[in-house]
Symmetry: C2
Subunit: 351 residues, 2 copies
């Protein structure tokens, strides 16, 4: 009997875990037949199938995904690129992506983007050329990663803003928070506030962020003065620091914040300045994160369907990967203003 190069591992089983060859040998069939049983595609006689399955069970055999992918097998795995797993928006989006992907039988890995990661780093994260990727591009690092991705990788992204018409990229999803910001601003104006101040989260691009834009839209439409927007980070602390001066000014009666964490910091700063919420100052957030309803006062905020967005993003990718079998991309909820205790009528003495 001639032992060719294509029949490795024929000798005593070393301490390496069982391969498809080991199973084949024990089951008394060819390696290919085992492969057929595993993948269930091709037809195998019932008798053989049962026998092979039994041996697989006995030996505790698990297929090696690396080898399968290398050999050009169907892959069904996605990598999510995101820069901060602890921020509510990103975490909720991730959760939606993860659920949808797992439901569709995809395994999902996450790779965390560092603030300073460049092009090279991003390419480095892919296990193989052509690996499917989703990007959470709510911040600069995410947008940069999206841009740095090699052209051949199938990608879908959750982005902060609608892509420009000209460079329209069909593989992106976003929330219409421009309209939502305008809505929240109009709501505050309707309460009698002369104008509304805005504390922004860091923007993902050099252009004006959607939320800032929507806030401006509403102010201009109502012919109100447009104060200079303030710039915060993502944390309560950054919100606190950003508005310490602003909240001391009694003519400031309404502040819209780029997220709920900033709003928390703003409320703290306001209290320390001796201002009552909502009596002297109304504060509105963005996200409707889990704590929002339990804060003191509970926070009026714009609810954003990040999880639905994440699900939709995966479905988009799925359709891109196999256009025929993937289900239609589901809709996600529109942003919605949730009115709670932190906002109220403008104080009498205003003006």
């Amino acid at each position: 009997m001639e032992v060719t190069g294509h029949m490795p591992n024929q000798d005593a089983p070393r301490s390496r875990s069982a391969s498809i060859w080991d199973v084949a040998r024990v089951a008394g069939v060819s390696q290919q037949t085992v492969s057929r049983v595993i993948n269930g595609k091709a037809r195998v006689s019932e008798e053989t199938r049962v026998k092979v399955l039994q041996v697989i069970e006995e030996m505790g055999y698990r297929p090696n995904k690396l080898a399968r992918a290398l050999a050009g097998g169907p892959v069904r795995s996605v990598t999510v690129l995101t820069s901060d797993t602890s921020l509510y928006g990103a975490a909720a989006t991730l959760r939606g992506m993860e659920e949808a992907a797992r439901t569709a039988g995809f395994s999902v890995g996450i790779s965390v983007l560092e603030p300073g990661s460049g092009q090279r780093d991003v390419a480095e994260r892919l296990n193989r050329p052509g690996e499917a990727v989703m990007v959470i591009a709510f911040d600069a690092a995410g947008v940069r990663a999206l841009g740095a991705l090699p052209p051949d990788v199938p990608v879908a992204a959750a982005v902060e803003r609608r892509p420009d018409i000209e460079t329209k990229n069909p593989w992106q999803v976003w929330l219409d928070d421009r309209a939502a910001a305008a809505h929240a601003t109009r709501y505050l104006l309707s309460l009698g506030h002369p104008t509304v101040h805005y504390l922004a989260i860091p923007s993902s691009t050099s252009e004006l962020p959607q939320r800032t834009q929507g806030w401006m839209d509403a102010l201009r439409a109502a012919e109100r003065p447009v104060p200079e927007p303030l710039h915060g980070g993502w944390s309560p602390r950054s919100g606190y620091l950003a508005v310490r001066d602003l909240v001391a000014d009694p003519s400031v009666t309404a502040i819209l914040c780029g997220n709920d964490d900033l709003a928390l910091g703003v409320m703290r700063a306001a209290r320390e300045a001796g201002r009552d919420i909502p009596g002297d100052l109304s504060v509105v957030g963005f996200d409707d994160s889990p704590p929002a309803a339990y804060l003191n006062p509970s926070l009026t905020t714009v609810r954003l369907d990040f999880q639905g967005l994440g699900r939709a993003c995966f479905n988009l990718l799925h359709r891109r990967l196999d256009p025929h079998t993937a289900p239609a991309v589901p809709a996600w909820s529109e942003p919605e203003l949730i009115v709670r205790e932190s906002s109220g009528p403008a104080p009498r003495s205003t003006g």
Copy 2:
């Protein structure tokens, strides 16, 4: 010239991305030499090295990690198994692991555990037998995953409790929150509270959790009554629901909570019951999450060094993988009680 089976890809470059063979062909060297240049280990003449590097740059060649791993190359990648990326403890631990791993040149992937995932699912997540893994086992899903891992995988875990002496597993790290819970409880007793109630987070094992244990330790040592602990989930909402009845009882003057989110819900429930914090009721949390200092009132809580724990966990794994080159495992900070506004002296009328 004979073309053997070991020289594939010799013909016209198809639309597949460049392989090591393509680079070798263009650079006029053997495929192995290219491999040597890439890995930098073996010695290559400066001239050849430069030439190869140049061709790599020109062709935009990127090594295929799958193939490298399959061929038994050095791997330098870790997979983190965790069940909830949005909870502060897990997220902060993850961050620590991620930073330490990337610093050491490891690429890190994350795989999210579903609450119901069983043994099979866990094995399924590994790309290859023997892949390095870290587990964040603060909850039941994490502990189950840790137990379900095949014995041959190199693993280090961040766990909720010190392993039993008998089954001592050296590849685990944990925070001493038993002592911290006892400390927080003693602090409340020292303020004159007759006893302290405890609202627990879900436990990761069937045994008594460390925090619960520490709370009991302190109460018993002070010969105080030990109330039945309440059981919450992880969210503010679950804390709110769990204590709605309890906070209505004026004899309850101090509640220790398993995390800051629960404490938030408790404070809300207390306010709605008309009780002042800290005047009528003191509330203490666990974690010192970013919002804690900005809540109203700001939250007295136990600061836990999750990030340091995550870093230490990676170093443990690193030492396990290559005992000679890995740096020593760094220490992480001890838990520390941070006193803020939510706790104060027991009300006069107590008793």
